[in-house]
Each structure stands twice: as structure tokens, then as C-alpha cells.
């Protein structure tokens, strides 16, 4: 069979429709039913070079359920949020469980004007061991992927470029 080549990715541009991001950042309710597990919030601020916050940047997340399952039809495991004018995003979700040799984690995908391709990163709740966290080189960057807990709120700031830059995956 003749292989096709994947389409070239391109930026979302500055005008990603507001209505596309509305109401999709709460993963704890699906079809009016509450999902099982510990409810947490994930908040963070997304910045570019020089620490400037980014407005209307789109973040999509993908995670396991409380039992570590990625295929639970009662918990979709997927959400989308947009940053506000201060660069801040918020997800309400269930704390993911341990899955298949993986530490609890949340997969992030970022889309924005000026990002020619999607950027992917991973948020962890504590330091490893985890095969994805352990793959990050140099080691000193791994701490950038570990979120900070305060009550039921986990903070995960993302810096696209410059000092304190977040490691991203290009696979």
C-alpha cells in the first residue's frame, strides 16, 4: 500500500473561535453524570519569551481516570481550555490514577497563533519514576513538569520559550 505523508500542521492564528473552547474545561461531569474520583483543579499561566502572558491560547488535555484507565466511556479523559488575558487557564478534573507502568500524569497539547505546530508536554503530580519523565534530557528539566499542590489545586505553569522554558515533546 502506498503510504501517505501526514498533512503539514499550521498555526490556529489569533482568531480561534471563542465558542470552540466554552464549557469544555470541566472533565468531572459527562452527560450530566459525575465522574468517580478525587476532584482537583489544574491551573497555570502560559508565557512566551520575556515572560509575557498569552491570551486565548488553547490547551487540550488527555488523561486516565481515577483507576488509571484511558478507555473508560464514563470518563472521557479529555478537555479544552483557553487562557484569559493574564495567560491563566483552569481545568476541573479527576486526579488520574496509576496506569500501565506510568505515574499519574496529564498530557497537554498547546495550540496558538505563532505556534506553527502543536506543542505537547506532560504534567506530573510528583517526581517519578516514569518512562516519559525519565526520558527528558537534561535531567534538570524534569522538575519543570512537576506541578505544585495547594489543597486540591495543582499549579502547572508553562513557558514556551526563554528562561524557565518548559520541555516539550516532538514525537
Amino acid at each position: 500500500m502506498k503510504r501517505l505523508i501526514a498533512s503539514a500542521e499550521m498555526t490556529t492564528g489569533p482568531f480561534f473561535p471563542r465558542e470552540f473552547a466554552q464549557g469544555a474545561n470541566d472533565l468531572t461531569v459527562l452527560d450530566g453524570k459525575k465522574s468517580v474520583g478525587e476532584v482537583i483543579e489544574i491551573i497555570g499561566r502560559v508565557t512566551e519569551l520575556d515572560g509575557t502572558p498569552l491570551d486565548n491560547l488553547i490547551l487540550e488535555i488527555w488523561q486516565a481516570d481515577a483507576a488509571g484507565r484511558f478507555d473508560n466511556p464514563e470518563f472521557l479523559g479529555w478537555g479544552r481550555a483557553a487562557t484569559d488575558a493574564n495567560g491563566v487557564f483552569l481545568f476541573k478534573t479527576i486526579k488520574p490514577g496509576v496506569s500501565e507502568g506510568r505515574a499519574p500524569h496529564v498530557n497537554f497539547l498547546l495550540l496558538y497563533s505563532g505556534l506553527m505546530r502543536q506543542l505537547q508536554t506532560v504534567m506530573f503530580f510528583e517526581d517519578g519514576p516514569d518512562p516519559v519523565l525519565d526520558a527528558v534530557q537534561p535531567r534538570s528539566l524534569r522538575r519543570k513538569l512537576i506541578s505544585q499542590k495547594k489543597g486540591n489545586i495543582w499549579t502547572f505553569d508553562i513557558c514556551l520559550r526563554g528562561e524557565g522554558e518548559t520541555p516539550f515533546f516532538g514525537d
Partner: protein
């Protein structure tokens, strides 16, 4: 059969930092991108995503007599993977500006009129053959602010979910024969001319199309393929 996602061919993809597009140098990471092993997270995907992202319109060109201004077009976009296998039931988002080059977005400061009969965004599911069809109008060109005379050619934004998390695709579709295609910083950030050509839709023969609209055909290829038999 197992599914796999292999690294992108950089030649067929845009560079991260693009000359003439100033924001890219403030946003694309300066460090090389990391590699990771692929497991249940990377090769899994939410099923029934439309339960989180409800379907939204299948027609952007207005209702009844209240038609959007501009050239009526009929888009036929097919979603396939690298094996050429169509994706049935895949979610597709489409958005673009109106015929005058104005988006429905508070941040668009372009001095062009809004069109009250134009709807700028749709969300649909592909059918069994991987196809979505959308009636809309051909978007206009518009100038990029503070970019030295850079005008975006007419284009349509697509956002598509593939079979796995790593197969997410967000891209733009261009129209054939547009002179601004030659100078667009975004389209020309793809260095391989064949890959660039695949970003341009094909005008379907007018004798076969709808009587009142031009039909354009486009193919979206999401990442991912079946693993060859015998591979671990």
C-alpha cells in the same frame, strides 16, 4: 493490529521559527523537542469526543433568504491516516473569515465589515468514507497587522482528531490559483513544494457540482499507520 506513529518528516512540516512571522521567534521553544516512549496514553484517544464538544452547524452560508455574502462554495474534506484508510466518526472543526476578510472574533481589528448572515465556525463528524461536507462562502484575504504588507491568502482552518492522541492535526486549507499563496509566510514555511501543494484544495469539475456553488475537495492526512506485521 497495532497502530504506530512515526516521527514527522521535517521537510514536509513547517519550521518552528518562520522569517517574516515575528511571533514565532517569541513562542517556539529554543530547546530541541524531547522524545518519549509511546504507550497507552500516546496511542490512546477519547472515544465519543462529541459528548464534550457538541456538533455545531453544518452550514456557514446562512439560512433561507438570509444568505452570507460572497462566492458560495461546497467543501468536501476527507480525513484519512497514513495508510490512506478513511476515519469514520472523526470530529472536525472548521473556521474561517467572511468574504470581506473579517473573522467573528473580538480580537479581529481589521477594518472590514462583519456579515450578520455568516457563521464562522462549524463542528462535524466524518461519515463512513471519512468525509465531511460543508456549505459556506469563500473567505476573503486580509492584511496581517504590523507585518510589512503581509496579506493572508484566502484560507480555511481545520482541526481534526486522528485515531490516537499523537495524531491531532490543526492546519489550514488554501485555494488554487491565488497569487497571495506565493508570498504567504505560513504556507511557504513548509519547504517541500509537494507538501505545500497538498495544502491547496482542488476545484471539482463544475459540471458535476451543485448548480449554485463551486465545490472544493481537500484531503487531511492524520498521523498514524498500522504497524507492519512481525514488528514488536
Amino acid at each position: 493490529m497495532a497502530y504506530q506513529v512515526v516521527p514527522r518528516d521535517p521537510h514536509t512540516q513547517s519550521d518552528g521559527v518562520v522569517p517574516g512571522y515575528a511571533q514565532t521567534a517569541r513562542r517556539w521553544p529554543s530547546q530541541p523537542l524531547q522524545r518519549r516512549p509511546h504507550g497507552a496514553a500516546e496511542l490512546g484517544a477519547p472515544r465519543g469526543l462529541e459528548r464534550r464538544l457538541p456538533l455545531l452547524r453544518g452550514d456557514l452560508a446562512g439560512r433561507g433568504a438570509k444568505r452570507a455574502l460572497g462566492q458560495l462554495i461546497h467543501l468536501r474534506a476527507r480525513v484519512v491516516d497514513e495508510d490512506g484508510a478513511p476515519l469514520a466518526g472523526a470530529l472536525v472543526e472548521v473556521w474561517h473569515c467572511n468574504a470581506a476578510g473579517k473573522y467573528i472574533h473580538a480580537n479581529d481589528s481589521h477594518d472590514a465589515p462583519p456579515d450578520p448572515n455568516f457563521y464562522g465556525a462549524a463542528r462535524m463528524l466524518t461519515g463512513d468514507s471519512g468525509l465531511v461536507e460543508l456549505r459556506t462562502i469563500k473567505p476573503g484575504a486580509y492584511p496581517v497587522p504590523d507585518a510589512g504588507g503581509w496579506w493572508r491568502p484566502p484560507h480555511v482552518h481545520f482541526s481534526v482528531w486522528g485515531r490516537v492522541w499523537l495524531a491531532r492535526l490543526v492546519t489550514q486549507m488554501f485555494f488554487p490559483g491565488e497569487p497571495l499563496n506565493e508570498s504567504d509566510a505560513i504556507l511557504n514555511a513548509v519547504r517541500d513544494p509537494e507538501a505545500r501543494a497538498r495544502c491547496i484544495a482542488r476545484l471539482a469539475p463544475t459540471a458535476q457540482g451543485p448548480a449554485n456553488a463551486l465545490a472544493y475537495e481537500y484531503q487531511l492526512v492524520v498521523r498514524g499507520r498500522k504497524a507492519a506485521p512481525g514488528m514488536p
